[in-house]
């Protein structure tokens, strides 16, 4: 157990520093959220109508950006071999890597999400639910994203390949999260959307590491 904690601390520290870490992720998020009104027009009514959806899509894109080199750096510098040759199952190693990723970039993005949505004109009363959805969604993004990052190991332009693999996996959380927020804004029952988002995240946490470990073993041998 202490070994898992040691790895989690290292992974969170590496994700914090990787490609600028949370600062870049939040900056990218703010940039995409700022582009929306420039393209759509500054009228508050029009912006308010798309605020939630735009903030949610921008969150998915920012999460995608952070995935770059989640496994690749360890693969290139030999650390992955060191992590494989241990008593800790590779599946657990992969899960811990994604958890570190979520702590270092998913959580800061979840804090930024309500700010971006409100800046675009969303109702401030939505802020707690946006935060919650972004936090749970971020977990799903990290664990499905890890599959793409592991599968693209060793490929040239792996970052681009990761995006192509991962975007379809991001569809359900975007639908569920966006649906829950829309329902809440419209005064409709929103719990089912959040429950589905949570279920997807749980499935990703349970199954993702198995796929990642398989992909890592395949890349090494």
């Amino acid at each position: 157990m202490s070994r898992a904690l040691v790895l989690l601390r290292r992974e969170a520290a590496l994700a914090w520093g990787r490609g600028g870490g949370p600062l870049i992720a939040v900056g990218f998020y703010a940039g995409v959220a700022t582009l929306m009104p420039l393209a759509i027009g500054p009228e508050p009514e029009r912006l308010a109508a798309i605020a939630l959806g735009a903030a949610w899509v921008a969150l998915a894109l920012a999460s995608l950006l952070c995935l770059d080199r989640l496994f690749e750096r360890d693969y290139e510098d030999g650390a992955l071999e060191g992590l494989v040759l241990s008593e800790t199952p590779l599946e657990l190693v992969c899960a811990i890597k994604c958890l570190g990723q979520w702590l270092a970039t998913g959580a800061p993005l979840a804090v930024a999400a309500p700010v971006a949505a409100i800046a675009l004109g969303a109702d401030p009363a939505l802020a707690p639910l946006i935060f919650l959805c972004a936090l749970v969604g971020g977990l799903a993004f990290a664990f499905t994203g890890g599959i793409g990052a592991a599968l693209s190991l060793g490929a040239r332009r792996g970052g681009l390949l990761t995006a192509v693999i991962v975007l379809p996996l991001f569809v359900p959380p975007v639908i569920f999260g966006g649906g829950a927020l829309d329902a809440f804004a419209g005064g409709l029952p929103w719990q089912s959307g959040l429950a589905l988002l949570g279920a997807y995240a749980a499935a990703a946490v349970a199954l993702g590491p198995v796929a990642m470990a398989g992909a890592c073993r395949n890349a090494l041998t």
Partner: protein, 200 residues
Amino acid sequence: MIQALAITELALRRGGRHLFDGLNLTLAAGEVCAVTGPNGAGKTSLLRAVAGLLAPEAGTIGFGAADPAAARASGLHFLGHQDGLKPARTAAEELTFWTRWDGASPGALETAVADLELSRLLALEVRRLSAGQRRRLSLARLAAAPRALWLLDEPLSPLDARWRARFGEMMARHLAGGGLILAAVHDPLPIPARELEIPA
């Protein structure tokens, strides 16, 4: 826990290219074997196959009475070209992580740091270290976490004459304690070793 290494009729293929076949090697506790051969003959691949990082095309690799999966998980050190050290982290952070990951105690880490004269380097970022200093950091992992089988890929190349001799003493101590060493080398090891040549 690994008492012996037995490789029988091993054939390896890497990236679609046939490397060698019919390779036999047995290593008992306290024995060291230096694997030699031209570039690309398959020395590194042999070490990777023993570590379980490369599936053999034919033949078997056994670890005496020990279960292969358990032996690989906790019975061997693999010191490859790539040391897995992150350039942006300090030597202390990296060494602490890897030795704890290998299951070493904090006391063993301190002893290894003293043995390999690393205390003045610990505060530096790994990127500031020379190749030889980085290698000494990797050797500290071997010293801190006792594991029976050492798989060493060109362990001497970045070390200067003094550290080659010191590393020789380290290997001799490891063998005296019942360890096994399989090393891929171009230069002879600083201790007497059996040779296994892989033809081109």
